[in-house]
Symmetry: C2
Subunit: 885 residues, 2 copies
């Protein structure tokens, strides 16, 4: 028969799948000999069985009964004993912490019979006993039986009014006893039966309520947001009650073994005398710093510090704890490896290495690329104590300052006039896109991390705070109100996308010290954070198997990427070199009616391209530079069809000659494509327009000849069949030979067919570079531009995506194409060099995947180079490298 | 050591890979004891080795020498013997017939020394001997040494002028001797050396010339067009010369064992007395029907008929032959399984079954779906002897009649006014698309089967004749001239896309008897062709493993499909039901501002959809009908952006209120997608627009409830992840249950990711249907609309495609996705029903592929149903089913 219940003495933290985080850690503390109130844990297996069938699994009740008897023996009290009753708490505890999401019920065991016994136990503290009983009925009624909380609140408020007090403490034992009577009436009215007077029944119902709370709506939403699997279930902990509210020699507190904000060494916590944990959360009195406890109860304080040191040594990491002191006796109620800020994560990991607790490999597993990314955003300088007007969901990081504007059209117009804008909406929809593009940041009053605003903003790299539900947004009046304060269109506000905070006025922005260090403006030893980042990145560089390159199109970008640690350029998009004043040359190329006109336009482009490449090769001297031949359809260099058509029609309506616009319109109409992403672009252009690729190859070769130590690589885009690549490669190799320049010639793998025929394609390629953006678009059949706003929100809500496949690579579908191409490409050509230059190259989760499948390098935007370096190192030191949450 | 040379007595037709078609068949005739001039064959291996290295492979010369000696012994003459010389021909012969593409050299062995010996051999026929010598120098000079043909022609013309004759026959021995002298001068002038006087040298050079002719430009082009692999090489046959031009008791002819045009029984051929084969080709005298030979040379005629009967019995098929009679002695020069028309193929196959020569399975292998397709096109009734003005490449079949128009814009305008149009251009380019769409047929004077005109016309199903190079097209004068005849814009012409012929005036079109039979208008016994088609299709139906369904959207189409043998509907596109006057409802759906407005529009669509389905289910009662839920983006139902923008701008310019147009423009702008194929469509629409799919499912279920024996299947388009399908399936099953209707719910597999995750998707699908159009578009990353015209021509020229992947499925890339999905879908769900509903479902080559990978059915347009039935039968009876050329 399955074992569904573990005594604390039977478990360990390794069993957290089964016992949840809280249960596992309580058991661990028992194993360490720490003072934990006796108790036992009901497993997640039992919860899953209950959720599946709607009934407790066979044998669970008996098993709980046996463990309860053991608990009674340990404490020396029995549940329901009217003279000396045992009270227990029933606490949820899933594998991953879901703070506030699920249920806890305290004081189980109190009944009309036992309440006097509790008073006797606590030295005749009648008030305490009746207050506990009141709390039980209220908590049990609400949580287990679904009685509306307001019904109890109303009774309490009336009683306070009658007693002429505004505080619970103003109610004496008699008043509380009367409240208990009223509560029982409320309970019976709402549930149709009396509050259960059998403590065993209380316990059984409480356990089931905790099981059920796994599927409460808020819990489901939270898991979806945090990508916690939906089928884990929660464990349930049944623990003997201890009381911190039995007088001045009692109290409760929380503590961290180091400062979780900065990582600074030394314990850090809060203490509240004569209180229970719930009171700390409710904030009815102010806590004092933990150090005060030394004065109040030196013995307990010393014991606590000893325990914390023991815990840190045991967990080899920052721990946080909850404790209660009952009449001078310290009890540990919870511990776990503590959450911390991004900065603290780096600082603590480095400290632990210094202290000899962990080695550098392990330190790498203690930090993430996402944390490093956070540290690279500029942050608000809060020293001026700016006025915080609201808080919302930190949906897309960054620090944005601008005037509030309440509709997309005006936002775009205002931004165009040079004023920075924050777009404020209740929620956004695809109509708001122009405004979102124009704005510095986006603020909404509704929606979470998967709302339209959040998804689109992250896609665009815009700062976004969403779901700031205290805002009352009035679009007609063009203002929002929050706690009576009005912010009107045109008022300046500041959004912190990393914390979700919204400030009035322009908060000064300070650059990230980590970025300043990368830029060379700060020395590696400048402060503990920079020192820690330097140390861990250096180690990651030593350990990683993936090289990291950057995507950069200009000498300036390349130089920055090099400072950020890039080991080459993985993608130089040459089409960016066709913009600006050169657009006119591209226009001439497109409008050319003869080969001579076409060649003349190409001849003029040649020296311009050459000088672009010279700059790039100089910035990257000694390192490889992968230049992708022109990719987009040529009509993208012409004005939009709609604009031209209107211009020409209006001119004709006015009897004017539309002139050149008419020629352009004809060309745009001729070249119009229904689906330009799937049109005449990439290698197809090269094969259809004579001389275009040859001009680019010549420019690359001539530039390389001018720059010592240039290492050009030529990359052909959009290849789907080896024959395409062979045709281009043949011409390119001929030209290179003619100019005496040596360069690898390879291909993007971005069309599904290229991945599926990689074995053949490898025969004509010196290297592969995965274009995972297009591979995702074609593999899923959706264009990022068109669908992210239109249906990703809905898809994230429905759970069809855990995360956008443009953010992290879709391992099962697109990832399978990558695997196929790597395996079959290498089988055909063992020395094939393989990288990735899609945006996934800088995404932490995806970097681990690319490490797993054995790529040689990833290439990403310069800003993400350090993140990729770190994650590549992390991937190398973790075996599977899978869990990067 | 490799064996490079086979005596005819050593070979057989089974060795055609090695000996080529001609060599293998000559050997076969020798084995049958037929009178074949002695000779030997040099293998394709030798040719390939030569082409690879540029030199004859080691040992070849010796081997040729040995076989030559044997040949000399057999004939009793020696090469170069001045008294009684052996002459030989050197003939190319590849595995697949490439008529006129490669070289033949006759009369090898003639020199100054041997010419007199030849005269003596032929009873002192000096004229014949010198004429033969002249022919050798001319043919050898041109073919082996690249001397321009005109140089020889000029000499010949001058000689004729001098002799006062316009005919070769007017030249006597003396004149021919003088011509030989002049020819040798011409030869020396152009080659820098004398015409070789060593017969062995002549032979060696001739062999190499034949090898090299494999890579002559015209041969390369021909192979590309006919999809003959480029690396086969040709064999070379060295054969003792026999002469049909030695007087009235000599002659030459070609014959077929049955009529290759109609399949009618009885021999059929042409004979020319006192002539060589070359003279028949050159057409200097008119041939007579083979039956005349009976009168001229009864013995030879009887022998020939005996031989032909023997050949047919041996080859078990129609044979064609070439023969020569040298002074009353019959020699067989060639035989092969003869080419025939589509009609003859069916008739002969059925006859051979009747005659007990082959069984029905084998008969199926003797016909093709492409032939059946040809028989289903309407044809011109040529009984009125219409005037043929030109011939070109038969690029896309059909019979089109219309007025000639010389530019695309006018073609579109003329067609719009209701006049049928033939677009005439020198060649077409993407600018001509609107005219091509509007025209009945397309005629060009340049380009072959892979030209823009041909590729696009085939894609559109338009009749096309291209490369009619006798046309002089004058676009400015809007006319074409051919042999002095002028056809002006507005003149009616008729194009036969099946034969490539162009007629003046309107040729009457007669419907295909085969189609009339399918339609029930002709009985199966109506004529030999219909009888044969009926018989073979009936057998194909019995043998095939693939079911055949049709793609049809209306009751009318469905009924026709059923008459054509469809076993159900594999694809009903519901979006076609949203056009016409219903467009207004779709507009309301799109413009709805509230859920109530949206639901109201859907409520009005419901009964319309329901009645569509009722009609369809009635037409297909008892058979499955797969209904695909709406697929295209909704904005496709709105007017084009450009039109609306111009309309609104012009109205505003005039100071008018654009009204509704402005609302529409806003909606179109809002919904505009850069790449609609990759946008908000298919299952995405269903998940984003509440009630849309539910309305359709309800309409299907309510219709099914009304029609006895309705077998609806509901198909979800564009699924890429199982979660999408689960969401739609859950809702659909709920509705079906509510309405008490039973229906399978399945999915298209048309997104690459769906194929790659088919194992998961199968968990939520009762069936898969491959949408190979989209799978091809997304797998290759090109949109058919955008690229077929723009670069397919170039790709076919470059050999990147052998055939458009939209025509026949790309086995390596897209086909691999199909294989993966079938294997993993069935592994997950063994009873998964799998079909295909892309256009490939009716393509012969692709049907074989779908048979191979184990699909349950193919679905195609009603017209292609018989083709698919035939090919599915053929696939079942051939083991690999691969070679359908």
């Amino acid at each position: 028969m399955a074992k569904y219940v573990y005594d604390f003495a039977e478990g360990s933290k390794e069993l957290s799948d089964l016992l949840g985080g809280k249960g596992g850690n309580l058991a661990e503390m028992v194993r360490l000999g720490l003072p934990v109130p006796p108790g036992f844990t009901i497993t997640t297996d039992a919860c899953r069985a209950y959720l599946r069938t709607g009934a407790e699994p066979y044998g669970l009740a008996d098993e709980v009964g046996l463990h309860l008897e053991r608990l009674e023996r340990q404490v020396g009290r029995r549940l329901g004993d009217s003279a000396d009753p045992l009270l227990v708490s029933v606490r949820s505890g899933a594998k991953y912490s879901m703070p506030g999401m699920m249920e806890t019920i305290l004081d189980i065991g109190l009944t009309d019979d036992t309440v006097a016994g509790l008073a006797a136990q606590t030295g005749g503290n009648e008030r305490f006993a009746w207050d506990s009983y009141r709390r039980l009925i209220q908590m049990f009624g609400k949580t287990v039986c679904g009685v509306p909380g307001e019904a109890f609140e109303r009774v309490l408020d009336e009683a306070k009014a009658r007693a002429g007090t505004s505080d619970d403490l103003g109610l004496d034992a008699g008043a509380l006893k009367a409240i208990v009577a009223r509560y029982r009436t409320v309970f019976a009215e709402h549930t149709g039966h009396d509050f259960p007077q059998d403590p065993r029944e209380q316990l059984g119902l409480a356990i089931r309520a905790v099981f059920s709370s796994w599927n409460a709506e808020r819990a489901v939403l939270y898991r979806r947001q945090e990508h916690i699997p939906a089928d884990l279930g929660t464990a349930v902990n049944v623990v003997a009650m201890v009381f911190g509210n039995l007088g001045a020699d009692s109290g409760t507190g929380v503590a961290f073994t180091r400062d979780p904000a900065t990582g600074a060494p030394g314990v850090y916590g809060d203490y509240l005398a004569d209180a229970q944990g719930e009171d700390v959360v409710a904030g009815i009195r102010n806590t004092v710093p933990l150090q005060e406890l030394e004065r109040l109860d030196r013995r307990s304080y010393d014991e606590l510090l000893t325990i914390m040191a023991k815990l840190e040594a045991h967990y080899r990491d920052l721990c946080d704890i909850e404790f209660t002191i009952e009449r001078g006796k310290l009890w540990m109620l919870q511990t776990r490896v503590g959450k911390r800020t991004a900065a603290a994560a780096f600082v603590i990991a480095a400290q632990l290495v210094d202290e000899g607790v962990i080695d550098l490999d392990e330190a790498l597993t203690r930090v993430t690329g996402a944390q490093l990314a956070q540290l690279m955003f500029p942050a608000f300088d809060l020293s001026g104590r700016p006025e915080r007007v609201a808080s919302g969901v930190a949906a897309a990081p960054g620090a944005a300052v601008g005037v509030a504007v309440f509709d997309a059209r005006r936002a775009a117009a205002t931004a165009k006039s040079g004023t920075a804008v924050i777009l404020v909406r209740r929620e956004t929809n695809p109509d708001d896109l122009p405004g979102m593009i124009a704005a510095q940041g986006i603020l909404t009053s509704r929606g979470g991390k998967t709302s339209h605003a959040a998804v689109v903003a992250r896609g665009m790299g815009k700062t976004c705070v969403c779901g700031a539900d205290s805002l009352d947004v009035d679009l007609d009046a063009r203002q929002f109100t929050v706690d009576g304060r009005v912010v009107r269109e045109g008022d300046v506000i500041s959004l912190d996308g990393t914390t979700g905070r919204v400030y009035a006025g322009a908060v000064p922005v300070q650059p990230s010290p980590v970025v300043r260090y990368f830029e060379g403006a700060l020395s590696p030893g400048a402060d503990p954070l920079v020192r820690a980042v330097d140390r861990l990145l250096t180690h990651a560089d030593k350990q990683r198997r993936l090289a990291v390159r950057a995507n950069a199109d200009t000498g300036e970008d390349a130089a920055r990427a090099r400072r950020f640690g890039a080991q080459g350029i993985g993608l130089c998009r040459t089409e960016h070199m066709f913009l600006g004043e050169r657009r006119a040359l591209v226009e001439r190329l497109i409008l050319a009616r003869t080969a001579a006109e076409r060649d003349a336009a190409l001849d003029e482009l040649l020296p311009l391209q050459r000088s672009d490449f010279v700059e790039l090769f100089r910035a990257m001297a000694g390192l490889p530079v992968t230049v992708r031949l022109i990719d987009p359809p040529l009509h993208e260099f012409l004005p939009p069809l709609e604009d031209l058509a209107v211009k020409v029609a209006v001119a004709e309506e006015r009897g004017q000659d539309p002139g050149h616009d008419k020629d352009l319109l004809d060309a745009v109409r001729r070249m119009h494509e229904e689906n330009p992403m799937l049109g005449l672009r990439g290698v197809r252009l090269g094969l259809v327009i004579p001389g275009l690729f040859a001009m680019q190859v010549r420019a690359i070769a001539e530039a390389a000849a001018q720059v010592p130590d240039a290492r050009p690589e030529i990359m052909v885009p959009l290849v789907g069949a080896v024959q395409e690549l062979e045709a281009v490669r043949g011409e390119a190799l001929g030209l290179l030979r003619e100019l005496g320049v040596d360069a690898r010639v390879g291909t993007m793998i971005e069309v599904p067919r290229a991945a599926l025929t990689a074995g053949e394609i490898a025969g004509a390629a010196d290297f592969f570079s995965f274009g995972t953006n297009d591979l995702t678009q074609m593999g899923w059949g959706f264009s990022r531009d068109d669908v992210e706003g239109a249906f990703f929100t809905r898809y994230l809500e429905l759970g069809i995506f855990g995360v956008s496949p443009f953010e992290s690579i879709d391992r099962d579908g697109v990832g399978r194409l990558v695997r196929i191409a790597v395996e079959e490409g290498r089988a055909a050509r063992p020395d094939l060099h393989i990288g990735v230059c899609g945006e996934h190259g800088g995404d932490p989760e995806s970097v681990h995947f690319f490490h797993e499948v054995g790529l040689d390098y990833v290439s990403c935007s310069p800003f993400r180079v350090p993140i990729a370096r770190l994650e590549a190192g992390r991937a190398a030191v973790t075996s599977a490298g899978s869990d990067t949450r």
